[in-house]
Assembly symmetry: C2
Homo-oligomer: 573 residues x 2
């Protein structure tokens, strides 16, 4: 491709709203252009990279036994009513009506459609395992599209759905997908680590997330430096140390705590460790049919993880209760107590069992109670892990302090089990002739996000440094002095020769200065830059530089083709 004819000029200025490196660089280098918030047009360079990512994903999906299909963007809303996910997706789901007022949604994902399909196409255990995937447009009306093409409202997604006869089969499918995902990220030059994640609105359990560490990440991951554990902070576990043992459960005793409103102040006032106190937190849990105030209680040195709490409650949304809501259920904020509660759901973190004789609120202003013990003094409705893991908290596996890493979610694998197949009647006849629900998994990767994160992880201050397999072209041929007929002819010949041998070449045939050309080459970031100039002609050579190396080398003209093929060989992976 001749750069003089390429649609998509390089820009000196990044968009004013760009907050991430990939956003700035992909716009400046002429890969993408915005149409709407979170909706982009892909110019030829950008589209070539997305297309290469697509080809890599397709290869790996086929190798893992995937069969490619394609399902529509327009989906009947009825299917979402049937699965009950309309509420879970909320405003993220785009709604519309056709000319006959039939309600439709734009596909954000395809569990409903594919399960309804499997209900028809799968008949017997002999049809299993079945792994169906598609690579196509998805729409999600995200509240905050961001980072250029990191979080989009319209994007390309590869979504694979596995159907197995049982849990053991699902585990095989899951492991194949995990391996395929690792291959994909490696081939695309993206470093990821696999973490445990919250299944979110997709539902199901056994969810794993592939997270790519980078500055543009908006998710906080916690990982153990030993490498034995990593998780999204939303779901991360932590080792909770027990308090020092106490021989007796002492009797309850009120203590005046004038002006003391926080755990820190309480511990300081009484001269005790924060872990010797109980913290009360109030949330309003919103269900499809009602909402209620929930009393959360956790050891004072820990914080509540709202995602864990929400999952424990099974509610649609969760928010901190307002002062008015707290007062209405008869509690005193700042000194609320789990003691003597009635008609209020209590959810407690299991840390309250790792100690004795805690100090808790008295439900009276300026007063607390000593020697509170569970279950002697109060009951709970739900007891479990609702604690937020923080950097410095201990690894649940080995006990080393966890580190925080910023990361972008790159792919998700979910065990769905029979959640959807039961709703849509997707059964198969087992060997004994008995109909059983299909056991499902789902596995997604966003293509544009993969491109963006490849840039986040592979760039310098001059521009992008494309991983060779997903570079839009492999070679950037700069002709310096196109007004010199000898240069124009030599560069044109080299261009033709490289293309004739199947190499992908972007040929900068413009009448521009060496500075402009080299800056554009660095910005666009193809793996290999070749330069033809009056100077290189004199020594019958071509200058070559790999984008990630500082030094250029001179290749004798007669050897250029062979050398270029050698230099670019790793790109064939």
């Amino acid at each position: 491709m001749r750069l003089s004819q390429l649609c998509g000029k390089t820009l000196r200025e990044a968009p004013a709203d760009a907050e991430t490196d990939s956003h700035r660089l992909l716009v400046r280098a002429g890969f993408i252009r915005p149409l709407l918030a979170g909706v982009y047009t892909y110019l030829p360079l950008g589209w070539r990279t997305v297309h290469k990512i697509e080809a890599i994903i397709r290869e790996e999906m086929n190798a893992a036994g995937g069969q490619e299909i394609t399902m529509p963007v327009l989906q009947p809303r009825e299917l979402w009513a049937q699965s009950g996910r309309e509420a879970a997706f909320g405003p993220v789901l785009f709604h519309l009506r056709d000319r006959r007022e039939h309600p439709l949604v734009l596909a954000p994902t395809a569990e409903e459609v594919v399960t309804a399909l499997a209900a028809v196409e799968v008949r017997s255990y002999r049809d299993l395992p079945l792994r169906l995937y598609q690579i196509g447009v998805k729409c999600r009306d995200e509240a905050r599209p961001r980072g250029g093409v990191i979080r989009l409202r319209e994007f390309l997604m590869k979504d694979l759905y596995s159907f197995d006869a049982d849990e053991a089969g699902l585990e095989v499918s899951l492991q194949k997908m995990i391996q395929a995902y690792q291959n994909i990220f490696r081939r695309c030059g993206v470093t990821v680590f696999m973490i445990e994640a919250d299944p979110g609105a997709i539902g199901g359990t056994g969810s794993r997330e592939f997270a790519a560490p980078c500055a543009a990440g908006e998710d906080t991951m916690l990982r153990c430096p030993s490498g034995d554990y990593a998780a999204n902070q939303e779901t991360a576990e932590l080792r909770k140390l027990p308090n020092p043992p106490q021989s007796d459960l002492l009797p309850l005793a009120e203590v005046a705590t004038p002006g003391v409103k926080t755990i820190a102040a309480l511990a300081q006032f009484l001269g005790i460790a924060e872990s010797q106190t109980l913290k009360a937190v109030f949330y309003t849990a919103i269900y499809a049919d009602r909402q209620e105030v929930v009393f959360g209680v956790i050891r004072g040195d820990l914080d509540v993880n709202e995602v864990k709490l929400k999952n424990k409650l099974g509610c649609l949304e969760l928010r901190l209760a307002t002062d008015a809501e707290v007062a209405e259920v008869g509690l005193v904020a700042g000194s609320a107590s789990p003691l003597g509660l009635q008609d209020l759901k209590v959810v407690a973190d299991d840390s309250i069992t790792l100690g004795a004789n805690f100090v808790a609120g008295a439900n009276k202003p300026d007063t607390h109670v000593r020697h509170v013990n569970y279950p002697r003094d109060f009951g709970v409705d739900i007891l479990g892990d609702i604690a937020l893991a923080r950097p410095g908290d201990l690894c649940p596996r080995c006990g080393q302090p966890l580190e925080a890493v910023r990361g972008v979610e790159m792919g998700h694998v979910f065990k769905l089990g029979t959640k959807y197949s039961e709703v849509f009647g997707a059964t198969f006849l087992d060997k004994d002739g008995v109909p059983k629900p299909l056991v499902m998994g789902c596995y997604g990767i966003g293509l544009e996000r993969l491109m963006a994160v490849a840039v986040e992880q592979n760039h310098d201050d001059k521009g992008i440094v494309w991983p060779p397999a997903i570079a839009p072209y492999q070679t950037h041929l700069c002709a310096l002095g196109m007004d010199n007929p000898a240069v124009a002819q030599a560069a044109g010949q080299l261009y033709a020769e490289l293309e004739a041998h199947g190499l992908e070449v972007l040929f900068d045939d413009r009448l521009e200065s060496p500075g402009v050309k080299f800056n554009d080459a660095d910005l666009i970031g193809l793996p290999l830059r070749l330069t033809v100039s009056a100077r290189t002609l004199k020594v019958e050579s071509v200058e070559a530089r790999l984008r990630w190396q500082k030094e250029a080398m001179l290749l004798p003209r007669a050897e250029v083709l062979a050398q270029v093929q050698t230099l670019l060989q790793p790109a064939a992976n």
Copy 2:
């Protein structure tokens, strides 16, 4: 691919609503499944064929200087208000709003978006010509989706937009596209002819349509048996013969015509040719801001073409006026007259100039007027060609009678000129430094429709006969008697050998009868069927049959690979 694992079983019964062969066959052979009216899921076989069509189109677009980009499905409605096309598309346009109530539409085509893009990316005549294309999802809320995947509400379209400096450049782009389209249809095994067509809501002039003759066609094309002319009936021209010459324009004279209401009755009553009469027709023309009754007049032997009339009027919609509307403007249906009209727009076909002394209505019941002459006796507001060409009418080029053919529109090329570039300020600096509007063309092909028409034109009573280049696989390998270990082993070996040499093989490894297997092979319609059975093993051979031939042949086992490669060679085009 092993047929035992393939998603998408063959069906004995076609869908009850299927009216076309391609609909019946693509569903029965397991290529497509409906999700909504005009919205389909593509199963693995169907998707492979669509994907092959996509690859052929991409190759031809690139060869014609196209640069591939991709534009979003979600488009801001503002762009459509700006171009003024929202009304022209009417209910075909899917509307929706995002969570911030921003109005969006789903892309039915992309003139607006691509012109707004070119307004930014194209700066100088040096950037021209520019040909941008995409292959992606389009949505059109058609009133009557039909024919399986012939007319869809969601479909894949290749749309290319050309930008040139002037009309001469546009003509070059148009000719390149016409050549590319001819290559695409040929490679996909589809016979088309190029016709003149109505530009419809896209606008512009110089529109050509590629029409594929087939029984499922809903458009009527007229073509000259000499091959010098073909057109959609909507826009077809015809040669209008003049009436026999008359020496004098005679004076007007009323004639009583009791009970005579039609042209046929009038001609019979007076003993004259229908071409000696004038026919009056009344339409209500609907504009964005008003509607009005229009008086149409045409020679009695001809009929009005409503598409031509609508284009002449430039109205949004046109319908026959009701009796009440006719009476309201003071006309007498059955004997309406162009004489003495006031405040009524008159549109006349130019056939009224090809004769003299016509008989026309008198605007009184049971009365007509003889010797009516234009322009002596009445005026018209618009005079031009509004006549409907019918089978048997004469070719405008050579005068031979035109024949009617049923056809499906397969592709469209439009000269848009500066219609969009002026609206969106898409200019370039010419050599003299003067900004000028880009001269545009647009060129579309529907991918699924191409698949469907390939089936319409290539099938027999047993199933599909795929054109080799777009068959989902090239070879259908039938193993007869998979419970015979020798057969299973021999067939498995052949399958592995063919695949190792890059051949695409669908391996029927099921435990089914020869009848079931052969019927499925005929239905699915791959070019080459190979059969391994106890009988062929005995003679150390494999049976081979090309789908379009009756006779099978025996290939010696040692020669199978070479012979298969030879037999399938044409598929490489």
